[in-house]
Symmetry: D2
Subunit: 290 residues, 4 copies
């Protein structure tokens, strides 16, 4: 990670000869200093053509212009290459709305990283279907919204969550062990913005109570999965996963406890990749430039 | 692991007060020196009663008798406790029949461990549906049986495998990437004797071509599972599992390559637990005393 | 982990025939229900005799007496066996004094576990040489003591820390990235009570700035070590360790960030082992009954 | 890993603006199809300037010329950039001389990978100071040289090893648990060609009997390190490392056994990185493009 201010240019396009040459030449013409860069070409197969993915960090002070002008100047080349792309500025903080229920581990972990600026983001608010963490969150100077959800008010509650998210100009929504399923329309409305931490090593044990499922099957490792939320429950593109060893002496309660440690670590890593534009979507999979 | 000759007593029974006291007292009365011992009590729940599991290693030279007399003297106590139990002698080598197809990694790995006596077993023969490794196996002085399998001869081939296994007095059959499904009757005939290495982190990706399935799902870790073979394909009790990290740049071929390293390591560990009577079955799960 | 109230009996003694039998029989005579038990016999060598270690959890409601009477009745047997032993009651919370400086990760992590009762302890106070976390700690209802340390007041400051620790009846002191070296006399005064988290995979990189040392050496994994503090800096008995993979693109700052995740996880595991009497000292090493 | 024939261009040079642009443009001008590419810029500090590292794989059939002409055409650009560089052809097999003593695990592992062409190399010969594996190696059709080493013949033996290595045109020498120290002059003569597997997590436990050292210190993880051999014993640039968990019940013999599994895995990974030109030296450290 560079310590100086930089722009991150990332994107993907159909593969062809000369992509790196053209983009790197564009940067070099403007005296851009490339700090870190990563490329990946997907092989392609009978179902789809080969696709090219890239991510570059360029020192902000090496370029003679800022994002708006960069975007304008780069657009024609991107169009020629049919590239889906974006550019971001390390000096502009991302706005991450955190959703929680009653479990504390991911929330404490995220706030510790936020308060030490290890995670250099704005948290415009925390939203919860319970008021368990209201005082704790507010103590940190972060607004807390209690949006209860029941069978009766589900539709209105989801609308309220979307309203708050829009109002605070959130660009990322983190389900930090938020124990409610988002409706398909919200997943579709914020594509690639909603990140969940699932308490199993997907695709094993989809759905409810994965630790109980794992216990019954007698697996020797349990895991956690950080993924983008899509309308298909637990089927979204996987960003990060990890596992931890258990044994026959561990009851479901022990697995829950071990699992928390994995969940918060995997969520923190996955969220960081997302915030640093290290994650590029490729159908239902991800390219992660670490 | 003790280096001196020892007996391993292992078993399980319904839990009650005083089991350890009674068994340990039995051993102590005969001046038995316990080298290593492990106990586990399953909690029990509404579906089943609490069950007790144990494993002890006793120095052979500390007891005034050998296995036959031990068995006779211990039987009444075991009966009182309704214990399923067995005792084995570290000086008697287990007889492990290895089954392979065309992949080399598990076979080389097992033979390296065997020839250095790290794995102190007899391999009375290797059986394969191909003759790929005939010369290699025979060079080690181990008989090799080529038992081809086709749609036509399946029944006869399986009978031949069972015949050889019985003839050489095998007590363990290892499917070291043997790419044929054993018939249900063979699984039933040799319960708790047939060990398979499956190339996925079960229960993810059961069935054929797990690496292709993993590639399509975009998981970030792949794994391997060592389990007992039962009539239900890939559903037997899990002995050992492990995973390895992959990323977007890994094609299926790379995953196969990484997977081999996990497969042979997991198989070797699982087999060792089995051979040292460290694995106790508990319905479709295992208690592993490491 | 049992969920019902239990006593934990742990200890070690010179190895001989019949130890388990005698202790388990003592428990059984009083109708004690053993929930979990672990034994280990150290092999011994030319330098020292073989030693026996054990840990048992007994259901509190299965015994006809409480700790005081247990201690009285068990003492003669323990004396015969020359056993160093203790017994604790799961219903009595341990009193853990947390020491911090300016880094937040271990403190947030411990308080999250404490507030969810995953770590079911009393934290009678937090002591720090800085006042950075005063408000945060006090918000949780935990007293905070600011004991600044400088070259001039070192002796008085250490005395003050000991005074507070004694006053609050602490039984465990956790150095949660407390960046001051405790004097030898304090290590000696509270043997087996002071736990530190060191930010390297000891014995690599003892002393100051281990991440800088690791960076210069070009290692591919960095680690953390939880250990008891003894008068010899970074030489105390190791309780737990773990590592995380890094690569050439990681600067020292990245290593610090990765390291935090390992440090808090390793400290939490090590502390739990200690609090549950799973750690038995054996010269400068530990036996950990997990 | 691409499956088609490709050239690998790798190197490093002082960092400046426009390096990627110029090199990628050179490739693109000749219609070279870049399959995989990696870049890293070292930050630099007060002691040294920032340095740039790169590795590219280009489809062989996309270029209008072969290596000789590539080298000629690329040389002027490389000179302008003051680049240390090389290019290799995936169709030309590397020539790896394997050195062993009496331990089998790394040798079996390498030969299994070689025979399945997972490791697509030539092994022109195996050299050993013992004849333990003569028959095994020769059975594979690989020449075996027994070069005994004693206090008396050390100099002559080393000369003989160098003579054989030169004669068979080795380009890589692998010390696959070869239990002899190479003389400084041989390390200097074949810089970046000699790879060792050390049975500890360096820099812990340098020198002899690392498992005994680890046992005495009571560490909870043991490891292995693959590194280039330099005149300073166990101090060469580290290529790869890994660890495995142990506990108090593991004797030195168990650690040796666990260690073997780590050693062969780490050696195989490190060797692969080396053979695929993924390792770039940077003073006493390595940049590894995975």
């Amino acid at each position: 990670m560079p310590t100086k201010r930089f722009f991150t240019l990332s994107g993907s396009c159909p593969d062809q000869i000369g992509i790196i040459a053209r983009i790197a030449s564009f940067i070099a013409e403007h005296k851009g200093w490339i700090l870190e860069s990563s490329y990946h070409a997907d092989d392609g197969d009978s179902d789809h053509d080969s696709r090219y993915f890239m991510r570059m960090q360029v020192r902000a002070d090496s370029l003679p212009f800022h994002l708006a002008e960069f975007r304008e100047r780069f657009a024609p080349l991107a169009e020629e290459l049919s590239m889906d792309w974006k550019i971001s500025d390390s000096a502009v903080k991302r706005r991450v709305v955190v959703m929680v229920s009653k479990q504390e581990h991911c929330l404490y972990d995220l706030l510790a990283r936020w308060q030490s600026r290890e995670l250099d983001i704005e948290i415009p608010c925390v939203i919860s279907n319970h008021d368990t963490f209201k005082a704790f969150v507010e103590w940190h100077g972060i607004p807390f919204h209690h949006v209860p959800i029941s069978a009766d008010n589900r539709h209105a509650a989801h609308a309220e969550i979307a309203r708050i998210y829009d109002e605070v100009k959130g660009d990322t929504m983190v389900l930090a062990r938020y124990m409610q399923i988002l409706p398909a329309e919200m997943c579709t409305r914020y594509p690639g913005q909603v990140i969940n931490i699932h308490h199993s090593f997907l695709p094993s044990f989809v759905g409810a109570r994965p630790y109980h499922q794992a216990f019954r099957r007698g697996v020797k490792l349990i895991g956690a999965t950080c993924h983008y939320v899509t309308p298909e429950l637990d089927q979204g593109p996987i960003i990060e996963q990890d596992v931890i060893r258990i044994d026959h002496s561990d009851a479901v309660e022990d697995m829950v406890r071990y699992g928390k440690d994995i969940e918060k670590a995997v969520l923190a890593r996955g969220l960081r990749y997302h915030l640093e534009d290290r994650v590029l979507l490729h159908a239902n999979k991800t390219v992660i430039f670490r």
